[in-house]
Assembly symmetry: C2
Homo-oligomer: 530 residues x 2
């Protein structure tokens, strides 16, 4: 059989603490996963809850998958009923998915204590349910839950579960390390034993409780598993499921196994981040292969050597997973990094040692006060321009701003109102504008842009597309200092600016002003001295 890359983000991944997917979210994620070229997308448990039932209904009509097939997840029949009479099995049969993945107990104590039936009846439940769905024309995979723990407790029974499933027609049995306590050597030994003892394709399903989910998955594949399950971004309950991208990238780039359609691994970074947008779980910068920091260098030591040969300092070409090498401006970086960063932005600083020193000092000083330029390229570029040209670009002068937010009455139904008044001078004209918004920064953004648009109509095309707030010194409660990152777009490109202050509104104001200034510098030919 062909190797299976089997994604369970929509089912097992959705068990993650804080993750909450709507039907629309699940459809969007399925499209992204298809774009990565996975072979199977486990969509959920039809019949178990209204959301998953609706997902399968809509998936069948709305999803036009190019690479992936949809799998419905569910349980073997209940004890003591015929598979054909079990409404849960019927929901799987009628889900519209051509593949059903049945979860079954393979640990004797789980059968007795959690399922509360006999070991024999559990085997019959597997046999009947697999046979029934096969007769109805579906392809059937079996998830052998708690397999590794069950194998330790009662190897004979655990293996008997697999045999029963294969004999009834299951195409793959995935060995699940449900509690996640395994290490690679153990996984390898068990998979070897299972392959010698039974006939049929073996799959692997790992959780990351020992920090070894990726290595455990690889160990299983190296021992002969032909089906690997995981979740995008390593989502999943507790410590998460095996990160599917890391597993697949290691298989392809390290072990030479082509498990995705040609070229699609290069979509990994885009897909991982797009899914993070949908789930609204901030992407982990340190995530292997696709993290924003995965190919990022900040140490001055490295930065100077990278000039010689970048390949000495990266384990693979980041383009292989659609990622990029990045250099950071940071107080740990020396002059070499500032020079390189300047070159990246189009400024050759190599001839002016004093300038590099001044920029380096200002970056260090600002970072001590809480600024960060690692993400805020546009703020760094404004600082650089100020030192190169002798003055900070300026298109308007701020006279004052004020924000008022208020509510009458208590309770969550007492809606608040917020308004902002901004007074600026541009091209010798005073502009006073009021903005209303659903929060202070939104109101301020409205008022400021209304005022500036009167002087510079191009600002009407700018859009604030991301707004991030970070508190530091959090131990101090609401008097913590605040760092705000604002991403502004002109439709074609986007840039990020930073503001810092103990007042979130003040920090936001700084980032808003810099964001508009940077955009105006790009789009307005002459600088208007204020």
């Amino acid at each position: 059989m062909e190797f299976h890359v089997y994604d369970t983000t929509l089912r097992d991944g959705a068990q993650q603490e804080g993750l909450n997917l709507s039907v629309a979210d699940k459809l969007a994620i399925a499209r992204h996963l298809d774009g990565l070229g996975v072979g199977f997308i486990e969509g959920g448990w039809p019949g178990a809850n209204p959301k998953d039932t609706e997902f399968f209904k809509r998936a069948v009509s709305e999803l036009d998958l190019e690479h992936a097939r949809l799998a419905a997840f569910g349980s073997t029949r209940r004890a003591g009923v015929r598979a054909a009479d079990d409404p849960q099995v019927a929901a799987l049969r009628d889900s519209g998915a051509s593949v059903v993945t049945l979860v079954a107990k393979s640990h004797d104590r789980h059968v007795e204590l959690a399922l509360r039936t006999t070991l024999e009846e559990n085997l019959a439940m597997i046999r009947d349910t697999v046979s029934h769905l096969r007769e109805e024309g579906q392809q059937v995979f079996l998830d052998a839950e708690h397999f590794f723990d069950g194998y330790r407790a009662n190897r004979d029974y655990a293996v008997e579960v697999l045999r029963t499933a294969y004999e009834a027609g299951a195409e793959v049995v995935a060995l699940c390390d449900t509690n996640g306590g395994m290490l690679p050597g153990w996984v390898s030994d068990v998979v070897h034993d299972v392959r010698e003892t039974t006939q049929g394709a073996v799959g692997i399903h790992c959780h990351n409780d020992t920090g070894c989910a990726v290595a455990n998955s690889l160990a299983a594949v190296e021992a002969g598993a032909m089906h690997v399950q995981g979740c995008i971004n390593g989502y999943g309950e507790r410590t998460g499921n095996a990160d599917l991208v890391s597993v697949v990238a290691n298989l392809q780039l390290k072990l030479g196994r082509e498990v995705l359609p040609t070229g699609l691994l290069g979509e990994a970074t885009r897909v991982a981040h797009a899914v993070a947008e949908v789930t609204n779980v901030p992407p982990a910068g340190r995530q292997p292969y696709v993290g924003a920091s995965a190919f990022t260098h900040k140490a001055g030591l490295h930065a100077s050597a990278i000039k010689v040969d970048p390949d000495l300092y990266q384990h693979m070409d980041p383009a292989g997973v659609g990622n990029d090498m990045r250099l950071l401006v940071s107080d740990m970086a020396g002059r070499a990094s500032i020079e390189l960063k300047g070159r990246e932005l189009g400024y050759d600083l190599s001839d002016d040692r004093d300038l590099v020193t001044r920029v380096t000092e200002r970056v260090k000083e600002a970072e001590q006060r809480g600024y960060t330029f690692e993400a805020a390229d546009a703020s760094f570029e404004l600082l650089l321009i100020e030192e190169v040209e002798g003055a900070r670009p300026s298109f308007f002068e701020v006279e004052s701003w004020r924000v008022i937010s208020e509510a009458r009455g208590g309770g969550p139904e007492a809606a608040s109102t917020t308004e902002a008044i901004v007074k600026i001078h541009a091209d010798g004209v005073r502009h006073v504008e009021t903005g209303e918004g659903n929060g202070p920064v939104n109101a301020l953004d409205q008022a400021l842009r209304a005022a500036i648009t009167r002087a510079f109509p191009v600002v009407a095309d700018f859009d604030l597309i991301d707004f991030k707030v970070r508190l530091f010194d959090q131990g101090h409660g609401t008097d913590a200092r605040t760092r705000v990152l604002i991403e502004t777009s002109d439709g074609a490109t986007s840039w990020t600016t930073v503001g810092v202050g103990s007042n979130v509104i003040e920090a936001s104001w700084e980032a808003l002003v810099d964001g508009l200034t940077f955009g105006l510098r790009r789009h307005v030919s002459k600088t208007t001295p204020a």
Copy 2:
């Protein structure tokens, strides 16, 4: 020799993007690491920058380490000078650390292209520097940089580097997977070969670029390495270094190697979170062993089975690493979870099916609007009390609140001022109070507490100790919805409340009011109907 647990958080971990440690931070982290019982703490590179130089100066006099020894990191001598004449080597010698870890090139191309010297001179640099420091009475470890890549490119030279270091007196040579591209099988093979080819103790230093840093470290130890390097919380540049806690927990709990002093692994969760407080990098909930989610269950399926036997659903007793099992209230959880959670809080709900249904419905409905009760136990308890007792606890009635934030002039020097006016009724008396603060929530907190303290003096003992803001629907910019989590303390215990709204101030207000209400319910004997 005894097994070495070698922490490099303060040196290699500090290379992480966004991490910025002051000398005081480094001293605090060193004390926490000592509390975990690690054998060695690599403090930094004395002489390379003023911060690290100061750290060693203060560490020698201020740190009173019980378990760990301090190691100074640095480089072999420069090409063409005597070790005794190299100021960088002198800084290591004079650092006050009894252990020096020297980094040396073991990859031939790095010697030629990055170091720009000959292969022979590189060996001489290693020989001379190790000998010199040994003669001066220090213990010397060698970090063989880029060892695994070097071994592939030129095995003979890479091994010659190790032999040279051992012969000159290095006690351990740590094989570094500097670019992080290795997999466990490869690490195992190389360590076996090195052990057969050379005499001397082997160490291992892994990065997580393939998602296998923990497994790679274990593979090396199983192949005979007696020294393992890593960072707390897996800090480090790019994808991070091997997470030292995962490595050590796996060695002790899974492989039966007692590598920490007896009992200290139980400090792991506390230490990992304490260090995260210092670094101000939010702890990763999904982190193996010590993550807040590592032993957390939300699926209704599991929650009901956990009643039968918790050990069926966890790979180890969380107490072994100082962590706890947690049950979450979530819209994926069924009635069983709500019942269990109620019991945890001291309410027996098992007799009242209608009540459980009402609470479950309200939780689901609130979570759809963006609330989360997973972290906000106090808000969940208020909701529960409201359903159990028929009314929400209330100690005061809100008439209105208003916040004004303003600034004159532009630029970062234009400081803003913020004031809040709060009007409430308590015990039939109207209280109007104004609060000033360095931000809107701070001002509101001041005003609200001033007003309530007049009616309930116990509020003076309450302290707002944490304030977290989360934006969702971030794609929409500043009109994103906001979730605020506020942690309030009465000195003895603390509790967390949640507020949601499109206005951060409104959401904060809700969480502030609930936080005070929950505290008053604990401390005030009779409920005053407002």
